[in-house]
């Protein structure tokens, strides 16, 4: 797998020849990629996946190992629960493999679960492990409650928790080995894996403060840093990453991606140092350093914007969950006790955070929320990139567990969905190039389809790029790509945005490109507006009985756009949102296949009642969100 000599010679030669030209540092021993595109290509991936090594995945019957998850991401067929002995009753496979994947098993309880599953291991016969093996759903609540609300580890972890820490090291090694096994270090550069994990903090009763931690290469700390070590304060995570990775492990680099702010109880974008207090300049700077990206959408809903209230954005009501914290999906009783059934908080959404970031920057000189955008699945089946609406098997996790038993017609909580994909613009499909793309925020997220979206801006950006043969070369030469910063705001910037439809014949064509602007005024108040930049209403629709799409759309859209309301000296961000024509949501695929007719109650079979519920959403517009381009002094 690793022709060391060839790689070393090739890498040294390449680094020497191209040190000045490369926009990213090469930190690895590997063969150079045969396919290297200076103008960058979009690589589609998933940075949020749980395998059987995560406590919540294993207690819902997921058996996917890290190695199997990586094989799945590359196109292998796989069995999933419910299980009949050793045989999974369902088989899944990606129609289009991914380019890259980061498995992000929960750091918490890696060792605890391993001990409970390993006969003869310390603690294997403890009462907690007996509960884990005999009544996994009870163990799910019990074990999570323990680490969420009490400090320290279970008694069966031994003195100082050492047995569990040792076991966590074993699993962490397995995760690294799986990543190494899947990573294509040959010149073909078919697939890139990242060593990663999820830090699973919560605030208040069940406010989600989770973050995925992605390492640049195979230089990683000896153990993942979990909430059990840090507590629920993100600043402690950043501090430990600095200590254990950047300072403590030669060659180590890392970034952190918060997710599901839609379930944060209003806490994700508050101070991570002193809850309830304003973010200070030191925290703003450190936050911007560690968290260059945010996951805007996934299995458990969309976090882009707050529907209602100040926004007039008619496309904002997309994949919104009807609850505001992680308890909302467990049971009505828990939802009520935790306040999950209260309305969500405007401050929980990414667009609001982007606006608040401008206001903080105006006051402190540093923007703590300069987030690039990605999306992912958060699958708890170990199935990266499984985003098809037409045959969604559920993702489990906080959704419906299917360890054994029959498969209900609606395989997950109806407001949950397959989730999305992360897209990184990079020169080649290798860790250094992709990681650099993530760090500079040249990324976008999709709700699962694969449109190709370019977004550039700058006061010097050449006009007429939509008709230029060398548009990309000109755009890089005269502007900044998505994720970039335009320093100086005395000249009206120009934006070039281009979208190509998902080339899969089964995907919907494009409807429109929108540019969303957020800004802060002189009084420190924040504002937002949505502009249509290309396309518009296509009149397309969906036949709900068959899920067949009707009407036409656009194969490509392009716009050379300037803000009509731009003001000199303004501090603002602009990002593009690409909407596709309407298509069936996964729930409607199920309802249509079962021939449910809500006007005829005899057609509403057992388990299909949600097809005719008031909150049933039969269609959606799949979409992509680019990272913003910021404009400021």
């Amino acid at each position: 797998m690793r022709p060391l000599l060839t790689a070393l010679v090739a890498t040294v030669a390449m680094v020497s020849a191209a040190a000045q030209a490369e926009p990213f540092e090469r930190t690895e021993e590997r063969e150079p990629c045969a396919a290297h595109e200076p103008m960058r290509r979009p690589f589609f991936g998933d940075t949020h996946i749980h395998t059987a090594r995560s406590q919540d995945a294993s207690t819902q019957g997921t058996r996917t190992t890290p190695a199997q998850a990586y094989a799945f991401a590359q196109g292998a067929e796989m069995m999933i629960q419910p299980w009949d002995g050793e045989v999974g009753q369902r088989r899944v496979q990606l129609a289009r493999p991914l380019d890259f994947t980061a498995l992000s098993d929960h750091a918490e309880q890696l060792g605890e679960v391993h001990l409970c599953r390993t006969p003869g291991a310390p603690g294997h016969d403890s009462w907690v492990c007996r509960v884990y093996r005999g009544w996994p759903r009870a163990a799910f609540f019990l074990m999570n409650a323990r680490y969420s609300y009490l400090s320290g580890r279970w008694g069966y972890c031994g003195d100082g928790g050492q047995d569990c820490l040792d076991a966590a090291g074993t699993v962490w090694k397995e995760i690294q080995d799986a990543a190494e096994g899947a990573y294509d270090r040959s010149a073909a550069c078919r697939f890139t894996s990242f060593v990663a994990y999820e830090w699973t903090a919560s605030g208040g009763t069940a406010g989600n403060l989770h973050r995925n931690v992605i390492f640049r290469n195979d230089a990683v700390p000896a153990l993942p840093i979990s909430v059990i070590e840090t507590g629920n304060t993100a600043s402690d995570l950043w501090q430990r990453l600095d200590m254990d990775c950047v300072q403590g492990t030669p060659g180590c680099d890392v970034l952190v991606i918060p997710h599901n702010s839609n379930l944060d109880d209003g806490l994700m974008f508050q101070s991570a140092v002193n809850v309830g207090e304003a973010i200070g300049p030191a925290e703003a700077a450190i936050r911007a350093r560690w968290e260059p990206l945010v996951e805007i959408m996934q299995h458990k809903g969309d976090s882009e914007c707050f529907p209602g209230g100040a926004t007039t954005d008619e496309a904002c009501g997309f994949e919104k969950l009807p609850f505001r914290n992680m308890s909302g999906s467990t049971s009505p009783m828990l939802a009520s006790l935790s306040g999950a059934d209260a309305p969500p908080d405007r401050g929980s959404f990414v667009r609001t955070a982007l606006q608040e970031g401008l206001a903080i920057e105006a006051a402190l000189g540093v923007n703590p929320f300069r987030f690039g955008i990605i999306a992912s699945t958060d699958t708890h089946l170990g199935t990266p990139g499984l985003v098809s609406e037409a045959d969604f098997p559920g993702h489990g996790g906080a959704g419906i567990p299917l360890a054994e038993g029959d498969v209900p017609p609606l395989v997950d909580i109806p407001s949950f969905g397959p989730g999305g994909l992360a897209v990184v613009w990079a020169e080649e499909n290798a860790r250094d190039a992709l990681f650099a793309g993530m760090k500079r925020r040249e990324t976008y997220g999709t709700s699962g389809t694969r449109p190709e979206v370019r977004f550039f801006g700058g006061p010097e950006l050449a006009p007429g790029l939509c008709e230029a043969a060398d548009s990309i070369e000109q755009a890089y030469a005269t502007g900044v790509p998505m994720g970039g910063q335009l320093d100086g705001n005395d000249t009206r910037p120009r934006f070039w945005v281009s979208a190509l439809r998902d080339p899969d014949p089964g995907a919907a064509p494009l409807q429109r490109i929108q540019i969303i602007k957020g800004w802060v005024d002189d009084a420190g108040d924040t504002h937002e507006v949505v502009h249509d930049a290309a396309g518009g209403d296509t009149g397309a629709s969906v036949d709900l009985a068959t899920c067949e799409r009707r009407g036409s759309g656009h194969a490509q859209l392009c716009s050379d756009w300037q803000d009509p309301d731009w003001r000199a000296g303004e501090r603002a961000f602009y990002y593009a949102r690409v909407l596709e024509n309407p298509s069936c949501r996964w729930t409607q695929h199920v309802c249509a296949a079962a021939a449910v007719d809500c006007t005829d109650t005899s057609t509403i079979g057992a388990g299909l009642e949600a097809c005719c519920a008031e909150d049933h959403r039969p269609t959606q517009r799949e979409r992509a969100w680019t990272s913003p381009i910021w404009v400021g002094p």
């Binding site: 396919a35 009870a138 409650a145 609300y149």
Partner: protein, 274 residues
């Protein structure tokens, strides 16, 4: 901070108790009626499952039957075990299509599981790899230069202007995809420009302008600059896929053999046999 814990513990305990509730065997039901020839394979599987009492022991079937009974009478105070007994006494296990499908599936899954208990040897894996060489082969790749046009008429109007793949100034319509693509397999090319386009390009001749070929965005003239032939994968790189494929094929063969044996056992011909 302790109250949420207590709530979780309470819920955990309730789930603990609920999960621990088992289902005892039911009361006797009428004997399974003999299989009538001719019969479909599914009829034979279903009949055999009934003979094995799977409809009484399979947890999925039991849940389905209990749910059906509760759907019909939501305020029935009896527990699930009693409801299942009554459902079977009423013959619901034979009339419910989901139960029938499950019982047929269970028969096949049982065979799959038996097969998976015997891990394949290294030699068997190598044999399978050899026998399925086409599946376990790194695909052919082509390095392509393409020129895009919005429609076929515009493409035809420019055909005469095409000379070499490095002299393309002023030819073609704008498309934000590089004209010189890196080596791509058919699948990779399909993911970028559409599957139909990819299939046509892979079938085209090298070193000459071909097309126009239709993509997801319009039409393209294509010049294949380099073609890299397909290469067989080593076992180490595809071990997991080979193992899964072999076990699946073995299990399917065992299922096919079993249905023949069951037909012999019950003396029934196939439905379509005359």
């Amino acid at each position: 901070m302790k109250r949420p814990l207590l709530r979780f513990l309470l819920l955990g305990f309730l789930l603990f108790v609920a999960d621990g509730l088992g289902f005892g065997p039911g009361v006797d039901a009428p004997a399974v009626a003999p299989l009538v020839a001719p019969a479909s394979d599914d009829d034979v599987w279903f009949h055999e499952a009934l003979l094995r009492n799977d409809h009484r022991t399979d947890a999925i079937v039991r849940r389905r039957l209990a749910r059906n009974m509760r759907f019909a009478s939501s305020d029935d105070p009896r527990d699930d075990a009693e409801l299942v007994d009554e459902a079977i006494a009423l013959g619901m296990h034979e009339s419910d299509l989901v139960v029938r499908r499950r019982l047929i599936q269970k028969m096949k899954l049982r065979i799959h599981e038996q097969v998976r208990r015997v891990p394949p040897t290294e030699a068997e894996l190598l044999d399978y790899l050899e026998a399925n060489a086409r599946r376990f082969t790194e695909p052919e790749r082509v390095r392509v230069t393409h020129v895009y046009f919005r429609d076929a008429a515009r493409a035809e109007a420019s055909r005469a202007a095409l000379t070499t793949p490095d002299a393309l100034d002023g030819i073609g319509d704008p498309l934000p995809i590089p004209r010189h693509l890196p080596p791509h397999s058919q699948a990779e090319l399909g993911r970028q420009l559409g599957p139909k386009f990819a299939a046509e390009v892979l079938g085209a001749s090298d070193g000459v302008w071909q097309g126009p070929f239709e993509s997801a965005y319009g039409v393209h003239f294509v010049w294949i600059r380099e073609r890299r032939p397909a290469m067989r994968s080593a076992l180490e790189t595809v071990r997991s896929e080979v193992r899964e494929g072999l076990l699946y094929e073995r299990a399917e063969a065992a299922v096919a053999a079993e249905i023949v044996a069951l037909r012999d056992k019950h003396g029934v011909a196939r439905e379509d046999a005359s």
